[in-house]
Symmetry: C2
Subunit: 376 residues, 2 copies
């Protein structure tokens, strides 16, 4: 089904260049301080025009540095309002119309400079504008740097349904410089760490222990620690999408925590949780389910839950109704024929994908988590 | 760039099954009376649900026959208003929302039953719904049967710009039964024939002569003649897209007549010409350009123009301003860096793609055509 794989190598100190071989050619994921400079080596001159899609406040703070570091000149900047509402077909229409008006053709390049919203929207616009132009991802949030900007999944929302319409279309380059994370709010920063924890559960004890040890110092301490964790988490994503670009098999492991996570977001109309926070809760619930099903040692489960909770306070779930949540589960995009495919941890470094989970187990795990019975 | 090719074989009398090998797997284009029956051999049972996207009047006339012939049961039918305005991102949003509401998941199938609008819209929805579900094209117009339903180009319009947003995504099956063409208006029927003439110019004397000879009897005479021409024209498209799925090279020959054609449509706000009619004029202008550039024998040019004009009366162009039209040309999606890539006939069976055409030659050819100086 898939003809791609990932490989990694190191470059000058803390910067890493990870290589992804996708169905549409190779591309690099550059992670670390100074990553933006890799845009200088990118063949900008091959394009008839280059556009930047971003959010205004973010660009005011970092735009000048990015253009200087990347030696990017005279690129028109297109702003979209911050927030999830920009991930819409209406905005696709607006952005496509704007770049057309400014002369974008089939050989133009789009740079998506921002978090998940800008990345998903920009990727979708690029993958469909004139049936596809090249694009570069410059992720500026933790979630985007370790997860959403890597792998070529693009999407916009339709109504209340997140990511209902989208494409698989790899970028030409991903530039993740952790410097930019310094302007994130504490909550937004922490929200991204849940995805890093997810990648640690998928990959194994090395990254998991590194997060356990480094967690207290990630914002305030030595940047080396943060950079190492980000690069490690990004590497997990590169490895998975390299083996399964179109989510036919192994890539589904990345949905750990997402089944309940999406339901939590939807049940609260995307107002209560940041995405990563919902995934944090989703991982706790999936972990609890795995213990109830007897496939995960309670001691390891406690360690996972402890790390998730150490990341920071999560918005409340005690007022949510389990029946409402269960009703939302089959609407998840991962459901096929109404059957939910659960991703459940078996140990640190191994998950199982299964549809064989009785609803009562999911319900009980959610109630356990609400009441925090067994891991407190 | 491209890893696909086409091959052909015959099946029981007038029905032809053409095979396309695309980057996303093989698919068949079945052309001829009884083509809809090929849906019986299609693995309908592999899908969790099957949806039909169509137009109401068309479905009222042919829906029952299609379901019977194709042994399609209990498929929800989704109607879109007829006409170009349905090719919008707004309609994508509506259709995606509707099939979600009715339980469509990643293993659902969409059947686009209609002409170019339904085919392009349906293909785009299918190629992006949950990042891509399978779809079947059932073209019901001449243009769709010989051209737009084959090859996996999908698109919607943005503002006045036709097909600005789209994808390359091959269908799983194309079923073209000429029986359904009997309910087309004369004008719509003729409009499609211009595309068949285009394919004849691309392919060579055999198909070209067949159209020259068969033209008077296509609506009223023996269906064998029509079926043979349709299959021949479809085969040209299959052959081209088989060699160049993503329009990186050879596929661009299919744009013969489209550069001026699109400008004519845009200049008249898509109100005066049916698409094929604009392409008819576009081919005459391209032919005239080729003569002016000395790359086409005037005798052959006369033969091409004669055949185009024999198809039927074309809406007037004498009132259009050449400067206005020339201004619209670089907006065409085929333009790169503002340079227009012209497709010009060199003989019947051969075209040249070139950006080396002085604007004054294009202008003069348009004026010649307006005044019909040299071929009358």
């Amino acid at each position: 089904m898939c003809s791609c794989h990932g490989s990694f190598w190191f470059l000058r100190g803390h910067m890493q260049r990870l290589r992804v071989i996708s169905s549409k050619g190779k591309y690099e994921v550059v992670v670390g301080r100074g990553a933006w400079r890799a845009l200088r080596r990118f063949p900008q001159g091959d394009y008839t025009s280059i556009f930047v899609l971003t959010e205004r406040a973010l660009w005011m703070r970092w735009g000048k540095a990015f253009c200087r570091e990347g030696q990017l000149r005279n690129a028109p900047i297109l702003f979209v309002p911050s927030g999830e509402t920009s991930k819409s077909l209406k905005m696709v229409e607006r952005v496509a119309g704007q770049i057309l008006e400014r002369g974008a053709d089939r050989r133009s390049l789009l740079i998506a400079f921002g978090g998940g919203v800008v990345g998903d929207l920009g990727g979708f616009v690029a993958s469909t504008y004139m049936r596809g132009i090249d694009y570069v991802q410059v992720p500026t949030t933790v979630v985007a740097q370790v997860d959403s900007a890597i792998g070529g999944k693009t999407a916009v929302n339709v109504g209340q349904m997140k990511n209902l319409v989208g494409t698989f279309c790899p970028p030409r380059l991903v530039l993740a410089d952790p410097m930019v994370l310094s302007s994130l709010s504490d909550r937004a920063f922490r929200s991204g760490l849940y995805e890093a924890v997810k990648h640690a559960i998928l990959s194994g004890p090395t990254l998991f222990k590194r997060i356990e040890a480094g967690l207290p110092s990630l914002r305030s301490g030595n940047p080396t620690e943060l950079d190492g964790i980000l690069a490690g988490a990004a590497k997990v994503k590169v490895g998975v999408v390299g083996r399964d670009e179109r989510e036919a098999g192994i890539r589904r492991v990345l949905n750990l925590g997402h089944t309940f996570g999406h339901a939590l977001e939807e049940a609260t109309r995307y107002r209560r949780f940041m995405h990563g926070e919902a995934i944090g809760w989703g991982m706790v619930i999936a972990t609890t389910m795995a213990v109830r099903l007897g496939i995960l040692d309670p001691g390891i489960a406690r360690r996972i839950v402890h790390l998730v909770r150490r990341v920071g306070p999560l918005p409340r779930i005690h007022d949510l109704d389990v029946v409402d949540l269960l009703r939302l589960l089959p609407r998840d995009k991962k459901a096929v024929g109404g059957r939910i495919h659960w991703v459940l941890p078996e140990k640190i470094g191994k998950v199982r994908i299964t549809a064989e989970v009785p609803t009562r187990v999911a319900a009980a795990a959610f109630r356990d988590t609400q009441q925090a019975k067994w891991y407190e």
